[in-house]
Amino acid sequence: MSMLVRATPFHSRAAAANRLNAWANRNGYTLASHYGDANAEALAPHTTAAIADVSWRWRVSIEGARAEEFLSRLLTRNPAKLTPGQAFKALWLTDHGAVRGAGAVARLGRETFRLVSTQSDLDWIASGAALFDVRVSEIEEGGLAIIGPYANKIFDAAGFGEALNALTFRKMFWRGLDIMLTRFGEHGGFEVWCKPDDAPILWGRLLKAGEPLAMKLVGLQAMDVLDLEAGVPRPERDYDAARDGFAMAPTPYDLKLESLIDYDHLLFNGRTAFLSTPRSQTRVGVELDGDRPAPYTNLMRNGQRVGATMNSLYSPALQRAIALAIVDVASAEPGTRLTLPDGTAAKVVSLPFLSVPDSIAE
């Protein structure tokens, strides 16, 4: 894996808009952390719409006669059920049932698939694919996500045609550009992908389409707050995905991602180990007293450590700091009162903290 940090295809446009020169790195790419007031950006997906550069997400093409067989072995759900144009979300596990990655898998054709994830895992997937004579290649594209109650209106305003159902995608030739429209995000809305060279054009067109609807350009920080509010855990940012092929942690139960596993899918890497994994911990949402975030901090109950927070940020919509955390099952009931080591009060709440409204109330 290269240690090089790259610019996304939208970098020149993002730099022009990034007045405060606030940048961050994610998955090997440089992105604007916020373009102006980070709190205002974090509110945008709840009020009108937000547009963000998501080119940093890892995308690979998986092709071959045995591609379906390979993915069936790799993923915790069976891709045989996908028809071209459909996608689902699944995990992939180590031999011992620990979570290595999570992502959306889309079927483009009988032997062609695409995997999208927020963390790259080329070694594992490429070496696994090689066992099945399946080709894996990384895709370089520019991607913009639009999220918020106005997302559908902006979709229409841009002229993308028929609405797209969740977890489907469509390639199209849109006013001279080859693009792919997807609805893979956890927050509703949609994503538009284009060739790197076409990125500046796409940026301009989408910003223009969204302007009358008060769409706001948001940076990585706002997207992270959105993930946190929705309770969506991401590898690298919130937790360390297993990187050793024999690792036993974190388990799907720890991360509360077992819903991405199909128990009727009989043969996938790590299944036997997963079936005997104990459910000792689980992921919960924690509301903190005050507005100071507390990431990667122990959580105490009656003087005992019962877990720890993962990522934690201030949510302007909730007007408090919130955190995702992994705690012992016994302390995971919503309403359980915990404390941080410095005495700050914390309370377990059910997830999501807040969802994005999928349309506007008139």
Binding site: T47, A214, L318, Q319, L354, A361
Partner: protein, 482 residues
């Protein structure tokens, strides 16, 4: 029907009080004469396809502890703070006079916010104390007294000390006096700075906040009755024991919270003979200073404004003398030549308010008298004011008047009639050192209490923030009913 508490008025304060009491397990009923909840937190269509909040564009920020306690975020109220404001010369000699972003300006705002927070927090906590526990010894000194500087200085003095630069000065002046009738040279007018802290809107329009508060109140088990007018408060001796409705229904309650303003509470809900002399005197001496008028404009095309500037209030700047002159006119019952004006392109931040490609522009005027020297507000006088205001707006944003598709003018008597507020004063009384905070009600009866046992005042109290007055009253009720 017997309740622990009856709340008059389902505005933000009334609903917040109901939710607070409901969460404490008390049996509560809220009585509202209008068909909807929300009071001034309302958004309505003033021209086909065009909506706006008729009375105010934004509300002061809800104190965080109340926001959390009522779980408003989950009930759908996402509070969007107003980040910036703009000051323009009236004839647009310079494009932009001043824009928030200067350090001193922001620091002033931060200082005012901090002080207001301190006062509010103290008031919220103190409300829970029972009346016997006086936190001031001897002569009544209000605990939430803002402090010497604020209550002794005039606005101009205070600003001269805190800000350098005429531009910033004028911006701050315009922001503090927006929608009001106040003399910037008057002693104690610095208090106006405390009332304009960190306000904001709620996405979808202010009515979203109202519905979130209503949801919170219902979730807490409170009953809300709409379309019911309270005729008077039932007394037994010197104690309030319930309310009479206009249709004759009697409601028994161990406590009554009135979110109406002081004069309306006492002079319309009681028979003259039942009021203690002290109350009658205090209430008659109480002053109102309604000066707010609103012009709502439906535009076929948005005015050419840079996106950054379009998101917040746009104050048409005037120097201190102009403000003083406007106040003079107001005092004499005359509409000023150039009333202080604040514009806001509300549809820029909230596209729901107008069809795509069109816009809603609101104008908030100050120093518009409730009663004109020569009589009532006739249609003629309304049209004259509207035209004059449009000319003012045209000077600041050329080309706007050509795209006006429809409009609505609201003057203080309209506010009085529609919201049931004395003289249409949205502040609930003049902002002056002898009428603010603890002096707003009855200083000897702290924390919203009144000389009448069982009766509490939960109406608007500037600088406390939205919902705070209602919650303070609720806490006083909880403390007293224990």
């Amino acid at each position: 029907m017997r309740y622990d508490a009856a709340i008059i008025g389902a505005g933000a304060n009334g609903l917040a009080a109901a939710a607070t009491l409901g969460q404490a397990g008390l049996k509560v009923i809220v009585l509202e004469r209008a068909a909807v909840c929300g009071g001034r937190a309302v958004t309505r269509e003033f021209h086909p396809g065009f909506c706006a909040s008729p009375f105010v564009d934004e509300l002061p920020q809800i104190p965080v502890e109340i926001f959390h306690a009522l779980d408003l975020a989950r009930h759908g109220a996402v509070f969007v703070p107003t980040l910036s404001s703009l000051a323009l010369w009236p004839d647009r000699k310079h494009e932009v006079l001043h824009w928030t972003g200067s350090e001193a300006f922001n620091r002033l705002g931060a200082v005012a916010r901090k002080r207001a927070n301190e006062i509010r927090t103290r008031a919220l906590t103190d409300a829970a104390l029972a009346p016997e526990r006086r936190w001031f010894g001897g002569a009544p000194t209000p605990a939430s007294w803002p402090g010497e500087g604020w209550s002794n200085d005039s606005l101009t003095e205070f600003l001269s000390e805190s800000l350098s630069g005429d531009d910033a000065h004028m911006h701050a002046l315009a922001a503090a006096l927006s929608g009001r009738a106040a003399d910037p040279f008057a002693v104690g007018s610095a208090l106006h700075l405390l009332t304009g802290d960190g306000g904001g809107t709620v996405m979808g329009g202010l009515w979203t906040l109202a519905s979130a508060l209503e949801a919170a109140a219902r979730a807490a088990g409170a009953e809300i009755s709409l379309g019911l007018e309270v005729a008077d408060i039932r007394l037994r001796g010197q104690h309030a024991v319930g309310v009479h409705l206009a249709d004759g229904t009697q409601i028994e309650a161990r406590a009554v919270i009135s979110t109406l303003d002081l004069r309306r509470t006492f002079f319309s809900l009681f028979a003259w003979k039942d009021l203690p002399k002290a109350v009658e005197q205090c209430v008659s001496r109480y002053r109102y200073a309604a000066g707010r008028a609103r012009l709502l404009l439906a535009l076929d095309a948005p005015p050419p404004l840079e996106a950054d500037f379009a998101q917040g209030p746009i104050h048409i700047a005037a120097d201190t003398n102009a403000h003083a002159k406007a106040h003079d006119s107001w005092r004499n019952g005359i509409v000023p030549d150039q009333p202080p004006l604040t514009l806001r392109l509300v549809s820029a931040a909230d596209p729901r308010l107008a069809p795509i490609g069109k816009a809603v522009l609101t104008a908030t005027l100050g120093c518009v008298p409730h009663r004109l020297f020569d009589g009532a507000w006739t249609n003629e006088k309304r049209t004259a004011l509207r035209d004059r205001t449009l000319a003012q707006i045209e000077a600041a944003l050329p080309g706007v008047t050509a795209s006006v598709a429809g409009s609505e003018l609201i003057v203080p008597p309209d506010i009085e009639e529609q919201l049931g507020i004395t003289e249409g004063d949205l502040d609930g009384g003049e902002i002056a050192p002898d009428q603010m905070f603890s002096f707003r009600g009855f200083a000897e009866h702290p924390g919203s209490r009144t000389p009448i046992g069982g009766l509490y005042l939960g109406g608007t109290s500037p600088a406390f923030g939205t919902c705070a007055a209602g919650v303070i009253a609720a806490r006083a009720v909880m403390a007293d009913l224990k």
